[in-house]
Amino acid sequence: MSVDKNTVRKVARLARIAVPEERLDPMAKELNGILAWIEQLNEVNVDGVEAMTTPVAMTLPMREDVITDGGIQDQVLANAPRSEDGFFVVPKVVE
């Protein structure tokens, strides 16, 4: 499987990264280099093999469904690029 300029454009959009038009071809070349190298995995017979989860068998821990954190609005907003009146300020999304 190899990627072309249009695939890179689509993937960049999905990843929300602006890739300038003139970078699409070089980027496709770079990605193809890596993907061609990754293709060797097709040599491995994985029929009936389970996907790896963890080397040490464990069950996900459960806890009481209670509130353990909160009431820290100032901390949540402390690193906001823009905030006002206790809210994050974001670009307008509804016309």
């Binding site: 993937v11 491995v44 790896m52």
Partner: protein, 492 residues
């Protein structure tokens, strides 16, 4: 008195407890060294001098009363991947801007609870993606080691290059680091240090900036095997804030150091002999085998047939998980925002295009591609199944032996730019280390000798899951036999 900055962590802790010197004295000694050297070495990206002296003062008060924790008063460096309350943490990425956490990572909290002192935050590859520390927004550090009769600037490895530089150049007693594909062990090998990645789940990932969650593990970089054991004991803990954390007692690894390896079976995997590997690495490996044999261990030839698939599998799993983890950096809640044309989509796309460096962008695109509709089974799911095969290889090998001995890296430290611009050539650095991440196993790197150009080379011991003890025992036996005392000649 010997120079305080040259002490091992264990000796410094003992000296502090015996009141041979104070925490303020040793902390000031390190701060002075940092001030003199950091412009050249670029190990620290933040120096917390005032905080360090405050913490040292508190430690001295405890030590005066004969109280204090296991690392009371010992000055450490912290990789910029660990969130530190009130101290800028950016994983050396522009996208995090001046992010200053309002909370503390569990690993660093454990270190502060044990009384250690924070000197500052250490340089690293952006989001730990790299093997040379060149992808840092702050530029790379300089390896204190140089080739004989050469002033070519060498990498200290990556991604924990700042941690390796700082410990090697005596800018801290020991440092925290993290290892997703070899980011502790490769820098250790490049700078003549000891570094261990524990079994997945031993160290909490809470407050550690995430790269690839199923692979990331914290661990220390230190000057001796004993120091590494001491650091790891303090860093590890079961943690309710990390659902993949193992709630198991932390063994007393410091007591494993120095235990006899007589009768242990050490496996030598034939697949770790790779094409183009320098003669010197092979020689070092044979020397290591001879050392453990002389210490009474038995050598067993083993096979790990899926070794060559480890790196390609890693370059699916790690970018896929990274693309998901790094989706949070959108410029809205924290970090540096770029508005683009002012629309929401443009804000996201411009923020991420300016905030992420080239290597991170490349991996995010790979990760997004392999997870995109129609490709998930062919790439990610297949890679996760190959991981199972790699783990099964280890489980088979461990039926015949107690631990594995391999080289740590396929070469000594290289110069900046010497790998060209082929990303795959850089990725091959992790060929011996990445298998332990994929299988979640503990693995330690320790110095074993110098190459013809006077650069350190390391060996690696891989243990069974949860058997860090075997790693420490064998590493200490090799450390003993190698009697590695070389230090970089001070040029900075």
């Amino acid at each position: 008195m010997t120079n305080l900055t040259q002490l091992t962590l264990a000796d410094a802790v003992d000296g502090l407890k015996a009141k041979k010197f104070s925490s303020q004295e040793i902390t000031q000694a390190f701060l002075t060294q940092i001030e003199q050297s950091n412009d050249v070495l670029n190990a620290y990206v933040v120096v917390t001098a005032d905080k360090a002296l405050d913490m040292a003062k508190t430690s001295d008060a405890k030590l005066a009363k004969g109280a204090g924790g296991r690392l009371e008063g010992a000055p450490l460096g912290i990789k910029d991947l660990f969130c530190t309350k009130g101290v800028r943490t950016t994983a050396c990425s522009n996208i995090l801007g001046e992010f200053t956490p309002t909370y503390e990572s569990t690993v660093t909290q454990n270190l502060w609870d044990a009384g250690s002192v924070m000197l500052g935050k250490l340089n690293m590859d952006e989001f730990a993606m790299g093997s040379s520390n060149e992808t840092s927004r702050f530029g790379p550090p300089s390896n204190p080691w140089r080739r004989k009769n050469s002033n070519v600037k060498l990498t200290a490895g990556g991604s924990s290059g700042g941690s390796a530089t700082a410990v090697s150049a005596e800018l801290c007693l020991a440092a925290t680091a993290s290892d997703t594909g070899g980011s502790i062990r490769q820098p250790a090998a490049f700078t003549g240090l000891v570094g261990i990645k524990p079994t997945y789940g031993r160290a909490s990932r809470y407050g550690m900036v995430a790269f690839a969650s199923s692979l990331d593990q914290a661990g220390p970089l230190a000057r001796t095997v004993k120091d590494a054991a001491l650091m790891l004991e303090v860093m590890c803990s079961g943690d309710d804030k990390d659902s993949t954390s193992l709630h198991l007692p932390v063994p007393q690894w410091t007591k494993s150091v120095g235990k006899s390896i007589k009768g242990m079976k050490i496996g030598v995997p034939k697949e770790y002999r790779v094409d183009g590997m320098p003669e010197e690495i092979e020689k070092l490996w044979q020397q290591g085998i001879a050392w453990v044999k002389a210490a009474g261990a038995e050598i067993v030839d083993v096979s790990l047939p899926h070794t060559k698939y480890a790196l390609p599998a890693y370059y699916i799993v790690a970018p896929a998980e990274a693309s998901s983890n790094l989706a949070r950096y959108d410029g809205i809640r924290y970090g540096a925002r770029q508005s683009g044309d002012g629309s929401l989509t443009s804000t996201y796309e411009t923020t991420r295009a300016t905030g992420f460096g080239a290597e991170v962008q490349r991996r995010l695109l790979i990760g997004t591609y392999v997870l995109s509709a129609g490709y998930y089974d062919a790439y990610y799911l297949r890679a996760q199944k190959v991981r199972t095969k790699i783990l099964q290889d280890f489980e088979e090998a461990f039926k015949q032996c107690d631990a594995l001995l391999t080289p740590a890296t396929p070469s000594a430290a290289f110069g900046y730019g010497e790998k060209g611009d082929d990303p795959v050539a850089m990725y091959l650095n992790d060929i011996f280390t990445v298998t332990a991440n994929l299988a979640g196993l503990p693995a330690i790197a320790m110095p074993a000798g110098l190459d013809a150009q006077g650069l350190p080379l390391g060996l690696q011991v891989i243990g069974k899951a949860l058997d860090e003890e075997a790693c420490f025992k064998v590493a200490a036996a090799i450390e003993d036999a190698a009697a590695f005392t070389a230090r970089p000649e001070k040029w900075w």
